[in-house]
Symmetry: C2
Subunit: 261 residues, 2 copies
Amino acid sequence: MTELGQISGVLLDIDGVLYAGGRAIEGGRETVAWLESEGIPFRCVSNTTSRSRRSIAARLRALDYDIHESLIFNPPLAAIRHLRGKKTFLLTQGDVRDDFLAADIPLVEEGAEAVVVGDAGNGFTYEAMNRAFRMALEGAGIVALEKDRYWMGADGLMLSAGPFVAALEYATGSEAVVVGKPSSEFFRLALEDMGAEPSEALMVGDDLRTDIGGAQAAGMRTALVRTGKFRQEVFETSRIRPDLLLPSIAGLPRAMRGIFI
Amino acid sequence: MTELGQISGVLLDIDGVLYAGGRAIEGGRETVAWLESEGIPFRCVSNTTSRSRRSIAARLRALDYDIHESLIFNPPLAAIRHLRGKKTFLLTQGDVRDDFLAADIPLVEEGAEAVVVGDAGNGFTYEAMNRAFRMALEGAGIVALEKDRYWMGADGLMLSAGPFVAALEYATGSEAVVVGKPSSEFFRLALEDMGAEPSEALMVGDDLRTDIGGAQAAGMRTALVRTGKFRQEVFETSRIRPDLLLPSIAGLPRAMRGIFI
């Protein structure tokens, strides 16, 4: 049993927790409002590497979530915190570039101190990979926004950033720093963003491995919701056990009162 | 001491052994003629993955080496022997495709049973990588013509096939079969091509690791030449020791008579 006062911050996964299948999860808005009214700091976390914080906030707004973009924490922001102003070669797609520009990260095409790799899709040309490789061999650190293998596209499976990160690792003989979920670095930086200690923070997610397993490895408390990609058989066969198992995010306020007070 | 009669086949590396820096090694042609006159089966082996056997033979002919293309053994041919007629998706560049067509390998763009990866250069697009990945995930074996990290191009280092093979391995969780040097499979298939047993065959090369180390791992005898990429300091600091150390291929006939008879 834990006092509510000891929970000094909450991380809410977005896809599968706040919405799923293009629709807001019932009770999600009320839970966000409750966190605000209780004065409990929170961040909405996403693992997408091809959309800026502004895009993610706009997507939430379209579903009637009134969440300011400063409350969105994504792998690009984790990378930005990790980079600390280093000259960066960006291998990504979409408007994620905006996040780096907004943070005044100098984006360069040569002589970079860091190579940041996200899901660049068709941007993964031989020329771009070779450019990234040369800079990494000359000492630029490889920062991976994610290291997933693939994702399900409209017409079939699509390669994620992971294989291309693995290619650069093989070519250079050096290891990338992964700043997306489930890396501890992601959770550490997200908590740092709101000044919360891992032991007093709660991660709410729908993915047993990346959300719950990742947050536990970072020393956080965890709540698994039965929405989004939650699957009973995965839950039953896994060794990963969350502190809380909730039907949905709607049950969070009651659970936090009931269990933690 | 070994009888000459026990050497039932010789593999001659091409670049660095038969020629170097665009010029034929002195005495090379005489050594090839001697092997032919003695009736000792031999193959000229190359690790290039972007030129067909015909192209390689033409290059040798331009340097006055009269070596028929059927005596050239390269990674594409090793792959062809390994494939045994399987439907193949080819991720390569240059005229190496001709070797596969000449061997009646069915080359397909979908539904392949094998994905063959060479140095495809600008052919390593996201679309091509994704295509290879999907087929590999559906069961096609990944066959790597080589797994080198990079090579020195005209304006700097260039990624070789290795990193892209590593990307497909990471994406699929399966391991590629490497059929180029220094894999034992390459030497085994080259010897099979002339009906020689490894223990009675000699590899002549200029690269301590891929030629000598690779051939020794395949159970062959070895001769290192001091031409091509031979470097004294590499030789002195390596644990790999060839059976013979020759100034150049010119010394092979005398060495084989003197040492093996």
